[in-house]
């Protein structure tokens, strides 16, 4: 049942480019994602407000205004199609009836926009992973598990094109590892807990999707690698640490595709290029036009391999011109126009390389997204099918790539970076190749009150 990825999906670096991939996916409205065109992926959320039975009507009106506004602007700017991501707020997953209602509002407005403007659109529904509301998290049963699955199932039934999630298995351990810049513990969280939970979770989600004429799309290591990026941007942890975490999150993300996801990968999963190299499936990405959701050192390079181009999230607030989601829609469309114009002229590789060159030398986190680096590391990852070992290898190879790049002076670095890379190198070498053996070692180092081993099939 489980797909094996034991070779790269690409043999030529020049084929590895935004907008197209070996295995595109076609939406209900006929958008072919990965078929040559980069589509905008628009995201949005509520302004500051409470959600309850009294306010839900207002919330629905806001969502209705947002979707009508962004689709109208997309039509006015002749977007070839729009992927809408509905990433719920936690209350919508806790009370699935709210999430279901809003999802229906969005679906309905998309249908109307199709009739009114001839605009193609598709929707990715992304419930929240609420399982960590229990502390320590209950991952495999309980009310949060039940309501989450209920929301997935009904939205799939109601016509969502894609389902995604930013799952959190292992985050309870990873959070602490991040602020300590502790790579051993981070690898345990990603490569043992994360990987195991992804297998369990996505087996269920793929089942729900398949039963309801919906695509399982993919997951994001948002709570792991993007948190690392944000902490690094604030100067809290070393940029090299965040860069290593990014690549170490790849095997975790890959599990969703082993279980049957078909893409597009989640927008905020910057590990996406690795997934695309290995699976040949389309990916969502986000960069400079998602700056309203988070700042980043990868504003352009993130687009180099994108099949959908996203703004990540924006509240419904008024800017001088228009509501912020409409502004985001416009910016995404112009970014996509530019990429697609290059493709039309056969200049996509050249344009990809401009996106890459404009960022890659300025930050180690951008450097690890270089298509050649991605291909080189991915080629090693497919040599094993053990996702824990893959995680360790991913971290190790990234440390090596960065050391080499810094030594050669081809990427900007902080004077403290080499010390941290050495420290990580040593720590990674101390990790055994066997997950079980590693867990035994870690038992004494871990705060065992923070997670429940049996929720990860561990003893």
């Amino acid at each position: 049942m489980v797909k094996k990825f034991n070779q790269l999906a690409y043999s030529n670096l020049d084929d590895f480019v935004y907008g197209s991939c070996p295995n595109p996916v076609t939406t209900k409205s006929g958008m072919v994602i990965g078929g040559g065109t980069v589509y905008p992926e628009i995201n949005f959320t509520l302004p500051g407000m409470d959600i309850n039975d009294t306010t839900i009507k207002k919330a629905c009106t806001i969502y209705s205004n947002i979707i009508d506004g962004v689709l109208k602007r997309a039509a006015e700017l002749y977007a070839p199609g729009v992927l809408v991501e509905f990433e719920t707020v936690p209350d919508f997953t806790e009370n699935p009836k709210y999430g279901i209602e809003v999802n229906r509002i969005l679906l309905n407005s998309m249908k109307e926009a199709s009739e009114k403007y001839g605009l193609k659109s598709a929707i990715r529904t992304t419930p929240n992973d609420l399982r960590e509301f229990s502390r320590p998290p209950i991952m495999r049963h309980g009310k949060y598990w039940d309501t989450m699955l209920e929301l997935f199932e009904q939205c799939a039934k109601d016509g969502s094109d894609f389902i995604s999630i930013e799952s959190t298995g292992g985050k309870e351990i990873h959070d602490g590892a991040l602020v300590k810049a502790d790579i051993r513990t981070a690898i345990f969280a990603l490569g043992v807990l994360g990987v195991t939970d992804m297998e369990f979770l996505w087996k269920h989600l793929v089942g729900i999707a398949k039963a309801n004429n919906c695509y399982p799309a993919g997951d994001s290591a948002c709570g792991f690698a993007n948190t690392a990026m944000v902490l690094a941007e604030k100067g809290f942890i070393p940029h090299v640490f965040a860069a290593v975490i990014r690549v170490a999150a790849v095997p975790r993300g890959l599990v969703a595709f082993e279980q049957g996801c078909v893409g597009p990968g989640k927008d905020c999963a910057y590990e996406g290029p690795y997934i695309k190299a290995i699976t040949g499936l389309p990916i969502g990405m986000e960069g400079k036009s998602a700056a309203g959701a988070h700042l980043s050192p990868i504003g352009n390079i993130a687009a180099a391999l994108a099949d959908t181009w996203s703004n990540e999230s924006i509240q419904q607030v008024k800017l001088l011109s228009e509501m912020a989601p409409v502004v985001a829609m416009e910016q995404l469309i112009y970014d996509c126009r530019l990429m697609n114009a290059a493709t039309k002229k056969g200049q996509q590789v050249m344009f990809r390389d401009l996106l890459v060159d404009s960022d890659a030398a300025l930050d180690v986190q951008a450097y690890v997204l270089r298509p050649d680096v991605v291909m080189r590391i991915s080629a090693e990852l497919v040599k094993t099918q053990d996702n824990f070992l893959r995680t360790k290898i991913a971290a190790k190879l990234t440390v090596q790539e960065l050391k080499k790049a810094i030594n050669e002076g081809i990427v900007k670095s902080d004077r403290r970076d080499m010390k941290w890379l050495d420290k990580m190198d040593k720590a990674i070498d101390s990790i055994p190749d066997d997950a079980g053996e590693f867990y035994e070692q870690m038992k004494s180092e871990l705060d065992m009150t923070k997670f429940i081993p049996s929720e990860y099939g561990l003893k």
């Binding site: 500051g48 407000m49 707020v89 936690p90 959070d175 602490g176 602020v179 810049a181 100067g235 942890i237």
Partner: protein, 211 residues
């Protein structure tokens, strides 16, 4: 022989393995434990704070410094009576109801503790009633609330209202923080202060405690 300066430097460098020996030397030399704490351990942390703020130290390094300080404290605590270590103040901190984000909160706790505050961590997803109960139980000087979601930030408002209703508002200062929070929002809901990140939050608390 070890000096108080060596202890400070040891804290700054986060040399967990060496601090004990240094502190022990000073104790053996008859230096007043309170002096070792104030002019050695805490003096070290007082160098750490501005270095962190200016971006010259990372959080893990700050944590190592804090751990180092705590390691030294372990030797000194038995030698003094409880009231001798002056707490700069007591703060209770929690992430509001419906919100699970705790990295920022935990950073703040670590910074506050190493600065000499007594901190009560309520955890995440904390209901209005739980804040009220904690204020009644711990009688803190400051209450800190964190929220990272636009849909939970209004919980700060309802918590403040609840504290007011229970007659507790005047006994405490309230600080808030988190991605969607602004100075203006803080003023709107009647919080006493807002801070963008952990290090400015510590400064904010310092100002509040001396005001």
């Amino acid at each position: 022989m070890a000096t108080l300066n060596d202890v400070s430097q040891c804290v700054l460098d986060g040399e967990l393995d060496e601090v004990k020996a240094l502190v022990q030397q000073l104790i053996d030399a008859g230096i007043d434990p309170i002096t070792i704490i104030n002019d050695g351990l805490i003096a070290g942390m007082n160098i750490v704070a501005p270095l962190f703020k200016s971006g010259e130290m990372f959080v893990p390094e700050v944590m190592e410094s804090a751990d180092t300080m705590n390691e030294g404290m372990k030797l000194l605590k038995p030698l003094i009576t409880d009231g001798d270590i002056p707490s700069k103040g007591k703060i209770i901190i929690g992430t509001v109801n419906g919100d699970l984000h705790d990295i920022g909160k935990n950073l703040l706790i670590m910074m506050m503790e190493s600065r000499g505050y007594t901190v009560v961590d309520l955890g995440v997803d904390i209901k209005e009633e739980a804040f009220v109960a904690a204020v009644k139980e711990h009688k803190p000087d400051i209450v800190g609330m964190s929220s990272l979601l636009t849909t939970t930030m209004m919980k700060m408002d309802s918590t403040i209202k609840q504290l007011t209703k229970e007659g507790l508002r005047d006994q405490i200062k309230i600080i808030i923080g988190g991605a969607p929070i602004t100075q203006e929002f803080a003023e709107d809901i009647g919080a006493d202060g807002y801070s963008e990140d952990a290090s400015t939050a510590v400064e904010l608390c310092d100002r509040m405690m001396t005001a």
